[in-house]
């Protein structure tokens, strides 16, 4: 339940009392001026952001078509150009899949550690802090690490390196969300389980985790939305490709890199394709955000539930 402390107090303050002194009147006027400035700033920002979003949506819908999902890119100048984004959509899904296979278990386990085991350990607080700091590391730097650790040993740009970089970004995010969601599970659940004679392990696996599963899944989805939109770490790991490939040991296509190269390229119809690709990305982010928000609301209002 989002309520602003100040939003509440505003209403109780609104009727301005009859003022006697000049000072009081001055303060009241100043207050109203500042409040209008704040409202004005809010409106400005929202208008600006709404303009940006609506423009993206408008253009995206304009150029969206079914062939985007079913056709491969066709080089400019050939019949049927620019084709579609099928290869990069598949590529993104595979990249996300590979990153998740590593990122989700490690992230969730780290989250479990932070929430359930870290009390009284030297590891807890620093790990939490570093996880937070890692979420702020510029993603292009992660891309370079992926290049040095995977691309250089393997000898060419490849999908594994891209997945590595994405997993790198994902782990701290998943760890922190999992921790926060587990902390929402009431203490009494754990106490009851322990009191019944369950081990700590059983308590976590059978009581605490199930109670938070729904929200952990949404948290994970949010991390997925985040890496789905990442371009920078893929530029010199997966590199991108205009071919349909299922073999991650070669340069690998992804939606974001494709959109980037189309958008910065000279061809109008490819730029249009980029708008449509952008719309697909943004819709994904929107849906996942909405899901998170709804579960978070549900959790806060009704307490933890099973998925």
């Amino acid at each position: 339940l989002i309520f602003l402390v100040h939003g509440m107090s505003t209403s109780s303050e609104q009727p301005v009392q009859p003022q006697r002194s000049f000072y009081r009147r001055f303060m009241a006027i100043k207050s109203n001026v500042m409040m209008s400035l704040c409202v004005f700033a809010t409106i400005c920002i929202l208008a600006l952001l709404a303009f940006v979003t609506l423009y993206l949506l408008y253009n995206g819908f304009n150029y969206l078509s079914w062939s985007i999902f079913t056709e491969l890119p066709i080089p400019p100048g050939m019949a049927g150009a620019p084709g579609g984004l099928k290869n990069s959509l598949i590529g993104t899904v595979i990249l996300i899949g590979m990153a998740s296979v590593v990122g989700i278990p490690v992230g969730v386990l780290a989250g479990i550690y932070l929430s359930e085991y870290s009390t009284g350990s030297w590891l807890g607080a620093p790990a939490r802090f570093i996880a937070d700091v890692l979420t702020g590391v510029p993603s292009i730097v992660v891309g370079i690490v992926g290049y040095e650790l995977v691309v250089v040993p393997m000898g060419n740009f490849n999908g594994y390196a891209g997945a590595f970089a994405l997993a790198f970004i994902m782990i701290p995010l998943v760890a922190r969300t999992t921790e926060e969601m587990l902390r929402l599970v009431p203490r009494s659940y754990r106490e009851a389980s322990i009191a019944l004679g369950a081990t700590k392990n059983r308590t976590i696996l059978h009581v605490v985790l199930p109670a938070a599963t729904g929200s952990i899944i949404t948290g994970v989805m949010l991390a997925i939305a985040r890496i789905a939109g990442e371009t920078a770490p893929l530029l010199f790991t997966a590199l991108g490709s205009r071919l349909l490939t299922l073999d991650p040991s070669h340069p690998f296509p992804s939606l974001t890199v494709q959109v980037f190269s189309y958008a910065t390229g000279p061809y109008k119809d490819e730029q249009n394709l980029a708008w449509a690709g952008m719309l697909i990305l943004i819709s994904l982010v929107f849906v996942l955000n909405l899901a998170l928000r709804l579960t978070a609301h549900h959790l806060q209002r009704n307490g933890p539930t099973r998925a």
Binding site: E13, A131, S139, I144, L196, A198, V207, A232, V285
Partner: protein, 365 residues
């Protein structure tokens, strides 16, 4: 009694669920679980270490070649260059009627990109901070507005980049920048500072009018500002929400006006707010895709914010995949290392400030 554990209740028709009873096996699986999760937590340390170690290793040739000079020189020349050899008086040396050429080795200096990063993020902050008071007032719209702002904070940066490239840059080029130029032309020196550039052509210094492209430092700063506003807003909202209610009620009970009480809230949480702004700054400094698309990508320091520039991240995005020599790679890795250290510093300081106020900065990706 068993109802207290919801998961057990389902699998428990009567009596005690066997799986919940401590058995011999349970103890060992207990330690397996603890070990695994501890391992996962250690991974986080390893990740930080890997970031630092790998980048330092990759950057070593550059660090050992250029040393501290790397930070303060502004040449960025990945390839060997042939130039006419000059004698002591600065004249071109001729031999048999031909100009004698000399070869200049590749040189790398990070100053232009450090400058570019600093200026573009500061511009972002100036534009952003002007509007940052937002969250003080939202009595009715609180829920939808905060959802919107969180959603905007989650939009991929390449989306902002596309918008900047196709909408903002042409708009600035055709409308805003000419207007600024004619609007400021009466101030002496302003035109020379903002709208001319000095180029060295064949040994001669040429001053010419700056071509306005719209893809420049100004546009980069604006796009970054638009991107970090939702982040700063979401964070400072969280910060202000954590101001104790009693504090606010106290000011109201003393007869404070809305603004006086708001000011009280602001000063109560000012260090955390400062942290929120710093996180926004860190995000702006590390931002890659959007800035690469709009900043114009020129490896030189220009005095004017209306000329193309380059940031550390955009330099990496542009050149890393194509770098062919070892030294070029190393120099780019060193740029990445500088970027990493800078963002670590910003993040650590900012999070200390924000966490000090008991807020989880979950909105800052």
């Amino acid at each position: 009694m068993s109802d207290a554990t919801p998961s057990a209740a389902a699998s428990m028709p009567g009596g005690v669920d066997r799986s919940l009873v401590r058995t011999g096996r349970g103890i060992s699986s207990d330690s397996v679980m603890a070990g695994l999760s501890q391992l996962a937590a250690l991974t986080i340390f390893v990740m930080l270490f890997a970031l630092l170690a790998v980048l330092t290793y990759a950057a070593w040739p550059s660090i050992s070649t250029f040393g501290w000079k790397f930070l303060f020189t502004s040449q960025w020349r990945p390839n060997e260059l042939s130039a006419p050899a000059l004698d002591a008086s600065g004249k071109v040396v001729m031999e048999d009627g031909e100009v004698v050429m000399r070869t200049l080795p590749p040189v790398f200096g990070a100053l232009p990109v450090i400058y570019g990063t600093a200026v573009s993020s500061l511009l972002a902050l100036v534009f952003g901070a002007a509007l940052f008071l937002v969250r003080l007032s939202r009595p009715w719209l609180a829920v939808p507005v905060s959802f919107l702002i969180e959603f905007l904070a989650a939009i991929p940066s390449i989306a902002y980049g596309m918008w900047g490239l196709f909408v903002l840059a042409p708009f600035l080029q055709h409308y805003i920048e000419p207007t600024i130029r004619s609007g400021l032309s009466w101030i002496p020196g302003m035109n020379a500072w903002l709208f001319t550039e000095t180029a060295v052509r064949a040994g001669q210094t040429v001053v010419r009018t700056l071509p306005l492209t719209g893809r420049d430092m100004f546009c980069g700063g604006l796009v970054l500002a638009i991107m970090i506003i939702p982040i700063i807003t979401a964070l400072s909202r969280d910060v202000l929400r954590s101001v104790p209610r009693a504090q606010v009620e106290g000011t109201l009970a003393l007869g404070a006006t809305w603004w006086q009480s708001a000011w009280e809230m602001l000063s109560y949480s000012r260090s955390a707010l400062f942290g929120a702004v710093m996180l926004g700054l860190a995000r702006a400094a590390g931002e890659t895709m959007a800035i690469t698309m709009v900043i114009g990508n020129s490896n030189q320091i220009h005095a004017s914010i209306f000329s193309p520039a380059q940031t550390m991240s955009s330099l990496l995005a542009n050149e890393f995949a194509e770098a062919s020599t070892e030294l070029h790679h190393a120099a780019l890795s060193e740029v990445a290392l500088i970027l990493l250290l800078m963002s670590l510093l910003f993040n650590i300081v900012a999070r200390k400030l924000v966490v000090g106020s008991d807020v989880h900065p979950s909105a800052a990706h």
